[in-house]
Amino acid sequence: MPKIKVPKKSPSLDMTPMVDLAFLLVTFFMLTTKFRPEEPVVVDMPSSVSSKILPENTLTITVDSAGRAFFNIDGQSVRRNLLTRIGEKYKIQFTEDELKKFSVMSTIGMPADKLKAYLDAPDSERKKMDKATGGIPIDTLNNQLADWIVYGWTAAISDEAYAKKKESGNELRFAIKGDGGVDYTYIKRIIEIFQQNKVNRFNLITNLQATPTTE
């Protein structure tokens, strides 16, 4: 019996346009993505109609729903410089490894005496510490947050990359990222600390609300 010949069709199809598109998208996403390190606290920001985008290069104070204060500043070299200054102030000797770790971290909410232990701890341990911490102390007697703000500011000013950014009108901004459910008194305290350090202009970070209506 003669075999029935099935016409042989090449199984390969022209994938070029698809590949083109795929790479275009990959390039797009690669260039637009900015990796953000994990935040130690979840903050539910209140929504507002403001459509102003938060500028880069900020010093952010995060206040979570329990009123704990956390600190964050952009720029690796700035952070490194900042931690050195904090170390000098509180007589803590940070190792090279700890400085490096801190420079790539994000928000921090540890009192000075626990800082070293926090930086040395493994990731899983750090998460536990974030949950247990009371944030950076903000009472009038032990106002460590003010130190963070002042040293963060000075570190930023003396930074080279920062000077370049300043030329392009992108100076250091101060921002408060508060949880919508937190008592205003906590935010007020942060504003007070800002003002004591001659910061009278700052940003309140919010989420975008679709329509100008309130719930």
């Binding site: 990959v26 996403f29 003002q195 940003n203 309140l204 309130t214």
Partner: protein, 202 residues
């Protein structure tokens, strides 16, 4: 000089008949692994990207030691817990001033602010319209709207909170202010009389 050996067994000498033919290789390369990788990366970046950039409200706090300026057209908004909001118009006169209860709905505090700030709001709206029609430039719009908001008859709003007020409500009020084009406002400390009045006003 380096010599490149083009001689291929002497056959190139004649070249009359058979051209040297390159071996015809298929133009198709197996792109599958590359495509796999491309899509893997694509998926990864798509899932990790967040497009919602945080937004911000910029505020300027008054310098602490500044003397409080007298204003004729002023509304004081008082905030408390459970989304309660009160307001009164003008100066605070002990025994005389009554707090008016309001809320965050469209007919609540927003209406009050729009009413009191009607002149400035209308001007800003007009400017916005002109901007939308491209009759004025961006920078002109900014300058004129700031002027309109800070004119003498424009409303001045003072925001005061008690110790139980939520941050969300403060943001809500700031929002209402921007909707009603109020340019002059300040978040200030509450006075004892106002505090007492608010606690009784429940």
């Amino acid at each position: 000089m380096a010599e490149v050996n083009t001689d291929q067994g002497g056959s190139a000498k004649g070249g009359k008949h058979g051209k040297v033919r390159a071996k015809k290789a298929s133009t198709h390369i197996d792109m599958t692994p590359m495509v796999d990788l491309a899509f893997l990366l694509l998926t990864f970046f798509m899932l990790t990207t967040t497009f919602s950039k945080p937004k911000t409200i910029e505020i300027n706090m008054p310098v602490k030691d500044g003397e409080p300026t007298k204003v004729n057209n002023a509304v004081t908004i008082l905030l408390s817990d459970k989304d309660r909001v009160f307001w009164y118009y003008g100066e605070f006169k002990p025994g005389e001033t009554q707090l008016i209860k309001s809320d965050f709905s469209d007919n609540g505090i927003r209406k009050v602010l729009l009413d009191k700030n009607a002149v400035a709001h209308a001007e800003v709206m007009k400017l916005e319209e002109q901007l939308a029609k491209r009759q004025i430039a961006d920078s002109t719009f900014k300058r004129l709207s700031v002027e309109a908001k800070s004119q003498k008859s424009a409303l001045m709003v003072l925001i005061k909170t008690d110790d139980k007020a939520k941050y969300r409500n403060v943001i809500d009020i700031l929002d209402e202010l921007s909707i009603a084009s109020v340019g002059k406002y300040a978040i200030v400390d509450i006075m004892k009389d106002e505090y007492d009045l608010m606690q009784n006003a429940n």
